[in-house]
Each structure stands twice: as structure tokens, then as C-alpha cells.
């Protein structure tokens, strides 16, 4: 456990009890939204988490922000074990250091608050500054995200601003209390393509200048590639592949990662992607069968995959994959393209 790791999670789990609808009784089943993920992020670095909808990206992010209390595993923040912090003081201390950016900027700000009021909230909560100082702080925060002149935005309501501007405000709000860690959950997916880049570049710039540690959640691999040093690919609550972004994307090992990458369209009519033909039946995250979760869609699955869940093991330096085939058969299928099922 290197001292410089801001985030260190080990075997983190989040199991939700399953509710039955009409009579509201707990059935004892649980939904394994996140089922044992481990990773660490050094200070100032960023990790991208990708995967299809429902695979547990957001849940992971929320655990990292103490919005959910993990049902298993450990979570070290800045070297301290914060898996189950309870005391109000500790939570507040944590909250001052970890912040969040959301997918939908239109919902991320209280529609009844002016921008000024929204940015003021965190200052009030943490008792930062006097009334006059707070005005200055808000101003600085807005300027930091390139909203000039800041004052023109003070009294605007969210509905009077564009998505790109709002997302900047959201970033400003996250930054106003000087956090060291930020989770950005699909921060640009609601934005128009033309302005996405602006927000992304801004984030990149700010995290670098403030030495922020970030987790970037997205299902768009090309954005993760643009933003992150490390990438983790999740599938049904587990990380199936993790490592240096370039390495993972250029040299995917797990069949799921391969399918994912080959499905991403490219803005070039001449580079038509190959047909990905894996079944699109994703099993329900409730009561998953034993073995590899991807086994029913995997073109390479063998007997062992149905019995035993593969562990996340290193293949090359820092590049870990959870696949029996990759490890056992020693990259047997590495050159093959995924074609059929």
C-alpha cells in the first residue's frame, strides 16, 4: 500500500437486497451491483471505468463517495480506512475532500437556487469564509472554470444557462472546497458533441493543475482514452480488465473488452468495424450463476468458466485480466477476432 495512493479499494462489494413489489417483503435474494472490485489510484492520476449499462459503474462511484456503505471489502482513502466511517465528524472531513460531477448538468443544480446560491452551499456547510470572503470564493471558482465575468452568472438560474455552462458550474461547485478526489459520472454524455470537448479539456486541465485524483465513469471508451491514465472494464459487478489505458485499449485481452472495442463506431467511413456477434443477453444481476459472469456470451467459454469465477491476474506490467482462457491457454486466442456465437 503505497502512501501515495489516494484511493485503495480491495474486494469492494455492494449487494442490494431485492424487494418484491406488491407485498414488499425481502426475498433474501440480493442484487450484486458491485461484487468485489479492487484497484488503487495514485495521487493526481485518473482511472476510467467503462462497461455496459447496469454493470455497476455508478454504484462503484457512489461507494467511493460514501454515498453507499459497502457491504463488503475495504476502502482506504488517503491511507485511512474509511470503509465504515460513522461519526459525523469523519464523514464531514471526508466530504470536504471528495467530490462528484454528474451526468446530467440540468439536474445537478437545484433549480430553485441561483448559481451563486448553489456555489455558496458547500461553503456554508463547511463553514468556510465570512460572508464577504464567500462572494470572492464563488467568483474565483467560476473564473477557474472559464466562466467570465463571474458576476454575470451569479443570479442566473440553471434553466437560464446552457448545458456546457452548467457542467462548468457543477465542476466549479465541486472544486470550491478544494477537494483532492473527484468522481465524474458520465459528465458529458448529456452535452452536445460540439461542447463536450470544452468540458473535457477543462477537466483535464483543472485536475492536472490541482493534482486531483479522479475516477471517470463512462461507457464511451474513446472518451476514457482521452481522459484517463488507467482504465477498468467492468462487467456485471466485476472488473474484468484493468490497466494502463493505452495498453488496455490497444491490446485488449478479455473477450468482453475486445467485443466492446470492436463495437465502437469510428467517424471514418473507410474504417468500418467488424461484425461483433456476441449474444446480447445479459444475465440478470440477481442470483448470478457461479462461474465467470460473461460465460454465457463468451465465444471461448469452456467447462471451467461455468464452475469457477476467474480471478483478476496480471498479464503484463500493471495490466490485469480476469479470464481463465487468457491465463490458462496463454493468450491462445489473442490473435483471433471475435466472430460468432
Amino acid at each position: 500500500m503505497g502512501k501515495s495512493n489516494v484511493i485503495e479499494v480491495h474486494d469492494l462489494k455492494m449487494h442490494f437486497p431485492v424487494r418484491q413489489n406488491l407485498f414488499k417483503r425481502n426475498s433474501g435474494d440480493s442484487l450484486k451491483a458491485v461484487d468485489g472490485v479492487s484497484f488503487s489510484i495514485p495521487k493526481g492520476q485518473s482511472l476510467g471505468i467503462a462497461g455496459e449499462s447496469g454493470c455497476g459503474k455508478t454504484t462503484t462511484g457512489k461507494m467511493l463517495l460514501q454515498l453507499y456503505e459497502p457491504t463488503g471489502g475495504t476502502f482506504h482513502f488517503n491511507g485511512e480506512d474509511v470503509t465504515h466511517i460513522k461519526s459525523k465528524k469523519d464523514i464531514k472531513k471526508f466530504r470536504k475532500q471528495a467530490q462528484l460531477m454528474f451526468q446530467n448538468p440540468f439536474e445537478a443544480l437545484n433549480p430553485r437556487f441561483t448559481i451563486f446560491r448553489s456555489l455558496l452551499e458547500p461553503l456554508i456547510i463547511h463553514g468556510i469564509g465570512t460572508k464577504e470572503e464567500r462572494v470572492t470564493l464563488v467568483k474565483e471558482a467560476l473564473e477557474r472554470v472559464n466562466l467570465h465575468p463571474a458576476e454575470t452568472y451569479f443570479e442566473k438560474y440553471p434553466h437560464q444557462m446552457s448545458g456546457g455552462q452548467l457542467q462548468r458550474v457543477v465542476l466549479a461547485r465541486a472544486l470550491i472546497i478544494d477537494p483532492i478526489f473527484i468522481v465524474a459520472d458520465e459528465p458529458v454524455s448529456m452535452l452536445d458533441v460540439s461542447v463536450r470537448a470544452g468540458v473535457l479539456n477543462l477537466m483535464k486541465e483543472v485536475t492536472k493543475s490541482m493534482e486531483l485524483t479522479t475516477v471517470y465513469i463512462s461507457h464511451d471508451l474513446s472518451l476514457i482514452q482521452y481522459m484517463c491514465e488507467q482504465t477498468a472494464i467492468m462487467y456485471l459487478g466485476k472488473i474484468v480488465e484493468i490497466g494502463n489505458t493505452r495498453e488496455v485499449l490497444a491490446n485488449p485481452q478479455h473477450p468482453y473488452t475486445q467485443a466492446l472495442i470492436s463495437a465502437v463506431p469510428v467517424p471514418d467511413p473507410d474504417q468500418k468495424s467488424e461484425q461483433v456477434n456476441i449474444s446480447n443477453h445479459v444475465p440478470s444481476p440477481i442470483n448470478l450463476p457461479p462461474g465467470c459472469h460473461f460465460q454465457n456470451r463468451c465465444p471461448y467459454a469452456e467447462a471451467i468458466c461455468k464452475q469457477e469465477g476467474p480471478e483478476l491476474k496480471e498479464t503484463t506490467d500493471g495490466h490485469k485480466v480476469a479470464c481463465h482462457m487468457v491465463h490458462d491457454k496463454n493468450n491462445l486466442f489473442k490473435e483471433k477476432k471475435i466472430v460468432t456465437v
Binding site: A98, L100, N104, E107, L109, R112, I125, K131, I177
Partner: protein
Amino acid sequence: MYSGKNLWFRVFVRRFIAFLKFFKQDKFCMVGAIIYLIFIILYIFAPMIAPYNPHEMIKVDGKLLFNAPPSAEHWLGTTNMGRDIFSQLIYGVRPALVVGFSAAFFVMVVGTLVGLFSGYFQGKIDNFLMRVTDIAFGIPFEPFVIVLVAFLGASIWNIVLAMALLLWRDTARVIRSQVLTVRERNFVEAAKVSGASHLRIIFVQIAPNILPLSFLYGSLAVGWAILTEAAVSFLGFGDPTIVSWGYMLHDAYVSQALSRGAFHWFVPPGILIMLAVMAGFYIGRGSEEILYPRLKKH
């Protein structure tokens, strides 16, 4: 340009303007607000506007002036006991507004609090509060008022009490379902991540977003309260010392204004009740779309 103080003041002014705009925004809403405004003026100036004491039995030459038809002296005539109907009508605005607004206030406060808490805290608190709400929904309202008034005495305050005890239920349900959607909005999570306490999130972040809704329910409750008072009066459980519109209708009814064709007695209180209730509906933007916005269970 932006000194702290200056800013706070401007925020206040903006709020106020927004509030006024809320009324201007919609014709229905305006009509409702104007009706209320007129009633409030009547409330304040009743003694000046009403030519007689509403209880006074008017005598002319030592003889009771009963069942007088409308005239210049008595715009709406007199009752069978010689009381000036117009004056009663004017004074009737007082209990109407008192019952209406106080009942609405409690309904709003209780309903909003229950809705906020049960919507925000899912799980046990929610279950508990929703059970309580279900129970409140199982208690028939009019019978409850009647029993309560029979036990505690015929007073408009007991009607207010009965409403406060029961009628928060729809408000609570609706507010709750609204809170359920609001709490899923990201800014709530943002507040949490910023370290805001539950109470702060509920009252600072969520409450302003559902306030229009509870305000709306309040304005509807004004109407219910007035109607309930009238119904209770009609059934003979009304407060006999207070000249309310319900009391007037009741008085007219037992005094057979209908058979007598004394429409100047029987109709005006009914119309004023309708106006008061309608004003509530109108302020609720003239429709029940918000009244029962999807009683969908969550």
C-alpha cells in the same frame, strides 16, 4: 459591485418578484388571487362595510322586521328573525377565512412534513409514515369531524382540528411522491457529497422544490375547510354563535327560505362558499392535474 450585503438584499427582492410572477403567470390563478384579496379586504373592513351587527334583530316601530325582501335599506332583505342578511354575509367572510386558512395551514404543514420525511428517508421511517397515512386514509372524514365535534363541542376550531388530524393525508402522499422524484435529482446527491446534513438537504434543498405543491394543496384545503364547515353546520353540529356562511345556509334551510322562495337568503352564501372554494382551485392553477398528480404508488 457585489458586496455581500447588497447581494443578499437583491436575492430577497428577486424572490419576492418571483412570487408575484407566480400569480400573474396564469389567468385562473389571478382570478383566484383576486377573489382571496377581496375576501381579505372584507375581512378587515367588515364592521365598516356591513351596515348592521349580524346578530341584531332589527325592529322597526317596536316590531321585528322579519322576512323582509331585499330593499335599499336591506340589500338582501332580512332573515326570519329580522337579521340583516347582507351584514351576515359580510361578517361570514371572517369565520370562512379563519377556518379556511388555519385548516389549510395545518394541513399544509403536517402534510408537507410527513411527505418530506417519508419521501426522503426511505425504509423504516417511510414505511411507518406511510402506514400512518394509510390509516388516515381509512378514516372517513365527515363522520370523523362529526364525532369529534360531538365530543369536543361545536366550535370552528374543532373543525380545524379534525382537518389537521386527517386531511394532511393527500398532501403527504403527493408531496412524498414528489420528494421521491426530487431526491433522485442529482443536486440532492451533490448536497450530500458536499457534506450537508439530512435536515439541511430536506429543508434547504428539497423543500423549496416541493413548496409550490404544498402551497397548492394549502389553497385547496382552504376550500375543503369552508365546505366542511358548511356541511357540519348543515347537519346541525355547527358553532351556533358564529355567523358563518355555512351557518347562514343552515339558518336559511331550517327557516325554510327555500319554500318561501327567499332566494336572496338561500343563494348568496352558497355563491360565496363556491367562490371561496373555487378561488382555491383556481390558485391551484385551475385544475386538479396537480391535485392528484398520479396517485401512482411508489
